[in-house]
């Protein structure tokens, strides 16, 4: 079960989601992707996409305006 972290702090709107999608495509089932973000759009559109695609998602607020989105590929 591999674990990869994607640092998207300071990235503008669609970038975190696009990067997360590309990264997750490369991963195996059971792998975990952690996306660090500070964009309010992303803390909603990344989990929405990941859940609709059938993965397990957890969002952790690690600080004011900063979130870690943990996606487990299913």
């Amino acid at each position: 079960m591999a674990e990869k972290t994607l640092d998207c702090l300071g990235e503008a709107c669609p970038v975190p989601l696009v990067k997360a999608q590309k990264e997750l495509e490369k991963m195996q089932k059971g792998d975990v992707l952690i996306v660090n973000i500070d964009h309010s759009c992303a803390m909603k559109n990344i989990p929405d996409w990941a859940r609709e695609a059938g993965h397990n998602v957890e969002i952790d607020e690690v600080g004011e305006g900063e979130w870690d989105i943990v996606i487990e590929k299913c």
Binding site: L17, C41, E52
Partner: protein, 236 residues
């Protein structure tokens, strides 16, 4: 298997760097600042009222709009861009809902004001923005769409993100203003005098048919967006 991600999330290095007391204090500082900001806004409403009898209401409505946009992460740019960039259409559908709802309410207001017959509709007093349509609309909208995706936010999105702390949007707004000034010179070149004002109820000979066309189109677009979103999600 999914207990694992809970464990990973909570042990993420950055979270444990601060003590809980520190974290609580930082949260409290933000909330207290927020409360102070409410006071500032109330003062602003009061000041507005000195010059404009409706000023206080406008200040409050504007504030609540910003609040609602931020709180729901609403973004028109994403609604238009995501179907192609990420395959997501949730915002697109929500945007279509705003059109349907607002259309309905504006229609209600206008019918109440002018009656169901269109003879007495005074465009300058009608609720809403009724403007000439033509080449300028197409070109302007096209340029706006490109600009909004590049800048990472549209008009409302820019102001919302300024308040959220995105310094990039503070730069965007400066050039938005400059662009507006440039537009003041460039726009009239493509705004032909022959461009007509087309009010759908007049075009379709009455509110009933216009409403039918408008709401049907919106419904169709909603369904298309829904199907598109499902197709894109399932494909992964």
């Amino acid at each position: 298997m999914s207990e694992n991600i809970g464990r990973i999330a909570r042990s993420s290095g950055r979270r444990t760097q601060m003590s809980d007391a520190q974290r609580k204090r930082r949260k409290a500082v933000q909330i207290i600042t927020g409360a102070a900001l409410i006071a500032v806004i109330i003062v602003m409403a009061f000041v507005a009222n000195q010059t404009n009898p409706k000023g206080a209401y406008i200040v409050i409505i504007g504030t609540l709009l910003g609040y609602a946009l931020q709180r729901s992460r609403f973004c028109f740019t994403a609604a238009l861009r995501d179907p192609f960039l990420t395959g997501g259409t949730n915002l697109t559908k929500a945007m279509i809902i705003t059109f349907a709802l607002y259309s309905f309410l504006l229609m209600a207001i206008n019918i109440t004001k002018f009656g169901i017959s269109l003879d007495s509709v005074d465009f300058s007093k009608a609720a809403g923005y009724i403007r000439p349509v033509g080449f300028h609309t197409a070109l302007g909208a096209f340029l706006f769409g490109i600009g909004a995706v590049i800048a990472g936010g549209c008009a409302s999105g820019t102001f919302m993100r300024m308040g959220e702390g995105f310094l990039q949007q503070w730069v965007v707004v400066i050039f938005f203003i400059i662009g507006s000034m440039i537009g003041g010179v460039a726009a009239p070149i493509v705004q032909f005098k022959s461009a007509p004002v087309v009010f759908l109820p007049q075009l379709f000979g009455g509110w009933a048919l216009a409403a039918f066309v408008q709401f049907s189109l919106l419904l169709i677009l909603y369904i298309v967006a829904d199907i598109w979103g499902r197709k894109k999600a399932g494909g992964r």
